[in-house]
Subunit: 196 residues, 4 copies
Amino acid sequence: MSDAHRRRRDPEARRREIVAAAAELIVEIGVDAITHRKVAARAGVPLGATTQYFATLDDLREAALRELADEVDARLEGVRAALAERGTSPAVLATLVAEGLDDARAVQADRAVVTAAVHDPGVRELARHLSEQLIHLLEPVYGLERATAATIFIDGVMWSTQIRDTPLDRPFIETVLGRILGEPASDHPHTSAASA
Amino acid sequence: MSDAHRRRRDPEARRREIVAAAAELIVEIGVDAITHRKVAARAGVPLGATTQYFATLDDLREAALRELADEVDARLEGVRAALAERGTSPAVLATLVAEGLDDARAVQADRAVVTAAVHDPGVRELARHLSEQLIHLLEPVYGLERATAATIFIDGVMWSTQIRDTPLDRPFIETVLGRILGEPASDHPHTSAASA
Amino acid sequence: MSDAHRRRRDPEARRREIVAAAAELIVEIGVDAITHRKVAARAGVPLGATTQYFATLDDLREAALRELADEVDARLEGVRAALAERGTSPAVLATLVAEGLDDARAVQADRAVVTAAVHDPGVRELARHLSEQLIHLLEPVYGLERATAATIFIDGVMWSTQIRDTPLDRPFIETVLGRILGEPASDHPHTSAASA
Amino acid sequence: MSDAHRRRRDPEARRREIVAAAAELIVEIGVDAITHRKVAARAGVPLGATTQYFATLDDLREAALRELADEVDARLEGVRAALAERGTSPAVLATLVAEGLDDARAVQADRAVVTAAVHDPGVRELARHLSEQLIHLLEPVYGLERATAATIFIDGVMWSTQIRDTPLDRPFIETVLGRILGEPASDHPHTSAASA
DNA sequence: TATGAATGAGTCTTCATTCAT
DNA sequence: GATGAATGAAGACTCATTCAT
């Protein structure tokens, strides 16, 4: 019965395939290099399908960037869970960051969104949202200022990984996060004098 | 072929104009959005001039990115001089960084080089060189690890500025740099805002 | 992008039209003088159609040369049939060659392929194939050496026709072919105009 | 004194260098592929020199083709001398032809002129002149018809060499020329019923 | 609805030719 | 006179987008 319902394919599934292909390509060749043809080829769908589901290439691009942002969001959710379970210490956080660095796709997805944000106000909100997510994760324990500082540092770590051949190692990250975050505040947040 | 009046005849100047126009455009619309036509229009030269001086658009792009990197280099030289004069303290450094953040062009030039580095190995070296410059500035006073950490943090600050509407403020930067750098390791201690 | 009326929708036919137009132009203005624009104009199709069907101009050129080679092949098949019916004598062959010379297009098609072969290894095979076709037609009757010699001579006749205003006449061709081929070596002798 | 006369260089010599470079290039890459820039680079002269000595590229092309034709002419003069000395027999002629085939440049020069002749009436005369030269060499001994036939065959041999990997061998050429030319006429020409 | 043919705008690039120096 | 900078026309090619089927 469920098979009979969908004639050929599930439109939603196809849409997802296209977005996934576009996201892959953005990570690989950059947001400005994607074309309908490349996306169609990568997704294994006919050219027409890419224009069927998205009015313009910009729309497709946006959907793909949103997809990448969702991936990062999901990853952050994993971080949240891990911190909740293992404790929000610089050591645990450093471990999670270092793990993230090992997943090239994760790093690139994040960087792609931020890069696209520079010249696209729409994406800017996406990028802002992501870093705020991390801030909000750390803020209850370390306060806004330190949480912001740590997030900005981790941002720098991501870029460093993207540009350099040798990724930064966990001990370094832990040490620096330790300095930035200091000791966890006893139990609950203190509003501090952070800026942004 | 045409009866048009040939323009000025100063190859070096013209080349510089073209590179400057390309650099401007990279900052404004992104490295992937530049075209011969846009550069020619911005520089106020005929289309053919852009191809006369650069065999390929890639060559022109590279020259423009190098120009931007040189700008950043010059700025870093200014930082070096200021640190030498006013002391390599987190406070002085924070002031210089905050000043840099106020110069949108400076931030954008730096970010443009880093962004272009992601998909262009040639530019990657340029980007690496820039961050190493800053590391080398701080290393004599704070050691490699702290110098690197501070540089990575400043990198994050730059991105944050690029993405957010409100730039981070000087006190925040000073506080965090203080935590990252700690007391100068050398014999010329400065007043540092370290805490924790 | 435009409100133009799309034309007919018969890809195969359109492809053939484009190839035919390109072949015509190669014969008229030479293989190196064809451009997308000229082909499109000649075929009566928009510029984009020529690039839609052929990834590169080289591909289009190759298809057109192959088309010309096919024409020559078809002509050779006619020669084969005629020789089979009327006997493989120098006289019959000379008549067929002389007929071929009267068809300017046939001569030009042949010469165009050979000319293009000089600087294009891919086409070289095409050209070789054509002359081998004729050799194989004559070889069973006259042996490889004489068949080759006659083919080479006929090649020279084609070029002579291409360069001179007055084409060589049938009697001359017959006389020379008679000398080159001599008496048929097979069991089915034909009246031959051999002399000397 | 002779050195003082010419300021920088001998204009005539420079002109010859340019023509020689163009001729070389025509042989290598085809008559349609030459450009001012390529010729200047090959000749080792500044770009402006190529336009200084020739009003248009067509003029330069024509001069270069004429140069190639002159080379062939010189070669034919060598053939004339050799025939005069060693006798105008098919064997001697075949040897000279076979020697010519070994000189790739000689074959290509000849073919370049003939090829260019197809679409350029001006060059056509040049090409006609060349084959007539050879006819006139053989005519006194073998008569116009046989001389023409042999020339046409040799023309075919040249093309065959250009297209095939393995050049035709001397014995084959001698055998066929022997059949085409027959025995040398006793002493002086007989006007025969040849066509062209 | 799904597909891919159709179209032309726009891109990079090459070059003949002109002409300032 | 010699040089190479200057210019734009023209060429190959790519692709977003439209729309017939």
